[in-house]
């Protein structure tokens, strides 16, 4: 046994103890049974600060098995601090295989993006959620928001969208855009850009949401209707970009703005690094073929 293996032997598989995992799995099962409903759970203290994905990590730890292949993204990127740390965490405590390729992963933990590549049946997308309650900034009382969900009183959600139009002339909410799940619960899709909302609709993958600080888990089972709220005369629209990605030339993807210098220089690149790299690789392979000819 190597020194690392002895070291990790002190942890239970995937860090959490088995009773905690069972408790979280029960919450997940309930969440899947009631799509969009926020299930309270006894969130544990994790070896990372709140706001860094404690909810997502607990969900992942409860569903991961030795055969799983884990991918972790942070704003679409595989190589940023949060993604790298969480990937390393599960390599250490669960000894699982990891990947940056969307297609090869069985579990994808994400902070604020949905991969560009379509997900397939059998994949699980785990979201890190800071504030699970879509009504929170409109109604501060938890007792009241729970009642509003129970009685399906969602007029207030539209008040927010009304305010957007009154102030900006269009619905200016660009992320954490509220959705209605299976025609019943209004849900916060976590702070993903509204660009990703249509990907949640009828997705073949299971989508799980974990909020560690707020102690809530919710879920969208595969092939569930997810509709973005809107007005008849101001229908839901996703962001569009004028230019293609500066690296891969892709259009129809969500782009990040990268500031290049202090003279106003900037470029727009795909926020999904895996998707962008794959396109670049296939483009250069194509070029290589042409050169060979």
């Amino acid at each position: 046994m190597s020194a690392t293996a002895e070291h990790i032997a002190r942890y239970n598989f995937a860090y959490l103890d088995e009773q905690t995992k069972r408790m979280i799995r029960r919450a997940i099962l309930k969440a899947i049974s009631i799509p969009g409903y926020q299930v309270p759970f006894a969130s544990r203290e994790m070896p990372m600060p709140y706001g860094w994905g404690t909810g997502g990590v607990q969900v992942t730890a409860s569903i991961i098995g030795p055969d799983d292949v884990l991918k972790v993204i942070d704003q679409g990127a595989d190589d940023t601090t949060n993604a790298v740390s969480i990937r390393a965490f599960f390599q250490t405590v669960a000894d699982v295989a990891t990947t940056t390729e969307t297609g090869k992963a069985t579990i994808i933990q994400t902070r604020h993006r949905i991969p560009e590549e379509s997900l397939t049946a059998g994949q699980v997308l785990v979201y890190q959620v800071p504030i699970p309650e879509p009504l929170r900034f409109l109604e501060p009382r938890e007792t009241e928001t729970r009642k509003m969900h129970a009685l399906e009183e969602y007029g207030l959600m539209h008040v927010k969208l009304y305010e957007d139009i009154a102030r900006h002339g269009h619905i200016a909410t660009t992320y954490a855009y509220p959705v209605k799940v299976e025609g019943r619960y209004v849900m916060d899709p976590s702070p993903t850009p509204k660009f990703d909302n249509p990907k949640m609709h009828m997705s073949p993958a299971l989508q799980l949401f974990g909020a560690g600080r707020e102690k809530r888990i919710y879920a969208v089972p595969p092939f569930t209707r997810v509709e973005s709220l809107d007005f008849e005369d101001h229908p839901f629209q996703v962001q569009t970009f004028e230019e293609p990605c500066a690296l891969c030339g892709g259009t129809g993807t969500y782009l990040d703005e990268v500031v290049l210098d202090d003279r106003g220089g900037r470029m727009f690149v795909c926020s999904d690094t895996d998707y962008c790299e794959k396109r670049q690789a296939s483009a250069s392979a194509l070029l290589g073929e042409e050169d060979a000819r």
């Binding site: 009685l151 009183e153 007029g155 207030l156 927010k160």
Partner: protein, 258 residues
Amino acid sequence: MTDQALLSARSLSKHYGNRIGCTDISFDLWPGEVLAVVGESGSGKTTLLNCLSTRLLPTSGVVSYRMRDGAFRDLYRMSEAERRFLMRTDWGFVHQNPADGLRMTVSAGANVGERLMALGERHYGNIRASATDWLGRVEIAHDRVDDEPRAFSGGMRQRLQIARNLVTGPRLVFMDEPTGGLDVSVQARLLDLLRGLVQEMELAAIVVTHDLAVARLLSHRIMVMKEGRAVESGLTDRVLDDPQAPYTQLLVSSILQV
């Protein structure tokens, strides 16, 4: 007016432990009728109003309401969902402090439109048109539709609160000291407005006030409360001009003459 009561209370009591909030109150309210509940502070007026409007669970007694389909239902046997639906469609509640009844951080237009959106209205243009129309009816200038109530004066806030409550065409409005804290000229205009709206929309209203002049102007009938009990009730003019109960006589004679 029809021969069927809109709202009726029977032996309504609310006790706070050993203390009496209000006790053994019975009355009927007819459609289109305005009832004033008067009395000094601490006499149980607001407790009674809250018990009637399902905001406070009474200790005993029955409150029944004539629904739009004609059925006479016991409010406290209805489900909470039904009661809340009633609250935001067929009823209105005007608070003494407008901040309690308004959303201070969203625009006036959204404040008025909220009930419409709660009822499933999903056309921005229509919601805005109704909101603007209602602001006009309560004498708030059209160009204030996107301002927050925080930027409004006390009188304007109160009128906005009234618009917000009336936009769904309710049949019954509860008012708790609607003119409290306003100066006399603003009070007079608000009363004038309320009188017009009540008549135009054939609203029934229960108005709690300690101001007998407000009661005289707004109400058809009056109920005088003291220490949680109704000591006298009758037509407003009769009670104020010919008070029978000693307490009412004291109350009427206490009005300051200018």
